[in-house]
Amino acid sequence: MIDIKGLYKDFGALHVLKGITLHIDQGEIISIIGPSGSGKSTLLRSINLLEEPTFGEIWVEGRLITPPDPYLHPEVIRASNTYKKLSGTADDAQLIARIKKEDLLYEKHEGAEYRRLLREITGKNFQSAYEVRKKIGMVFQHFNLFPHMTVLENMTYAPVKVLGISKEEAAERARRLLTQVGMLDKIGVYPSTLSGGQKQRVAIARTLAMEPDIVLFDEPTSALDPEMVKEVLDVIKALAKTGITMVLVTHEMGFAREVSDRIVFLDEGVIVEDADPATFFSTPKSDRAQAFLEKVL
């Protein structure tokens, strides 16, 4: 369903993600945890291209959503002028490894065949950000409801505009989802009149109104007063039971343990552990995960 291959992300000189490879299956619920600044949000936001990867590829439902990364395709490397120039200095595997490691490819100088192969990969597999975002919903830490629209308008705007469904159908969908998150009585109000927990429940419903296959959550309860955390977690828990694919960044360890199929522990831009919750929380393998868990549990 989601395939992240060799993902790197730099912000200028800051290397935030350093070679992330992660596969997420349909219906899986994955929690990404790790220290502040480890790159959790950046990884999550790469999946719907709110961040543009520096290197690497992301595949969603079999479609490539980033430009192809030549370093991930040996046949492309072999077609490059750089490879041809260096051939003879080492065997194929060593050469490919060296070209990757030293980042030797320079698109403009690699010749027509190299560019044709890359174009071919794009042509066969590429899907634009807009198409991908129809299938991937995102729930933000700060809700990001549209303040000049009512709850109903927040929920019907994108389904009508982006998916092209009728206003009546979108309103019907909105009522059904608001009922599901217990917010139907607020359908006509503006977001500024809602509490944090209520805003987040509406934001979750707004995301679901697009009928996504995958939902990304970036610390959905971190901006909430403690007494409102539970109502939002309950909504997410209920959602987890519906079989939808979810990727969560969260600091709520108990919650992560309860709902997740897998825990991905990220530290300094690399995946240090990827395990089922029981294993991860009882017997973390790495020192860094142990140290982290000691601090937060």
Binding site: H148, A158, V162
Partner: protein, 221 residues
């Protein structure tokens, strides 16, 4: 010299007609200026360097050249080199609108910049395309913070429209000049005109302050 305001009375119908001209020019300029300011402000916040340069150059031209020179240019100058013809109303309105656009687009730019990144991100994550995002999500929120400066712009437009009397349009100031040349009296007509503008501008700035308070208040979620 003895003051006699009764000399104004026979001219009241002229004042009425002139007032309509003044208000028409002002409102048309403001609306047209508002419309023009939208693409201009989008150029200013764009990542494309040529668009930025164009918008900044546009603004600096209208700020740097005296308004009366602009009016003369549009009315007398441009029709000599381009195949266009303006009457005084059109030339004046166009110049004022283009000026307003320069000013309004500055505060519109500020309004757009002040909008939280999360609004863009939420729209993008929902798959909304850039034009719809700007039209439906960003600009409606930015306009709100532009409202007070729109009132200020309305005020300066109202005062600046007196310049169109210089290209022959009969506005309130022009009626004053007509009274002066017929009656050889200057104090009474211009005093009445001054009071008229002053009261109107005071009323408008009260409205502007009220709007500013409203906007600031509803900013607090």
């Amino acid at each position: 010299m003895k003051l006699d305001f009764s000399i104004i009375l026979p001219w009241l119908p002229n004042f009425g007609a002139a007032l309509i001209v003044t208000v028409q020019v002002t409102i048309c300029s403001l609306l047209l200026g508002l419309v023009l300011s939208v693409p201009l402000s989008l150029c200013k916040i764009s990542n494309l360097r040529p668009l930025q340069v164009f918008a900044d150059f546009y603004t600096s031209v209208f700020r740097g050249v005296p308004l009366l020179v602009q009016v003369f240019m549009m009315y007398f100058g441009i029709p000599l080199v381009l195949p266009v013809k303006f009457n005084a109303f059109q030339a004046g309105t166009l110049v004022f609108a283009m000026n307003s656009a320069a000013y309004i687009s500055e505060s519109m730019k500020g309004g757009i910049r002040a909008i939280d990144r999360g609004q863009y991100e939420a729209a993008m994550a929902l798959g909304v395309h850039y034009p719809s995002m700007m039209k439906d999500i960003i600009l409606p929120q930015a306009i709100k913070s532009v409202l007070p400066s729109l009132v200020n712009e309305f005020i300066s437009l109202l005062k600046n429209t007196t310049l169109i009397s210089s290209i022959g349009l009969v506005d309130i100031l022009r009626v004053g000049q007509m009274i002066q040349s017929k009656t050889y009296r200057a104090f009474e007509p211009f005093f009445v005109i001054a009071i008229f503008y002053y009261v109107l501008v005071m009323l408008l700035s009260t409205l502007g302050k009220y709007l500013e308070r409203r906007v600031n208040k509803s900013d607090r979620h």
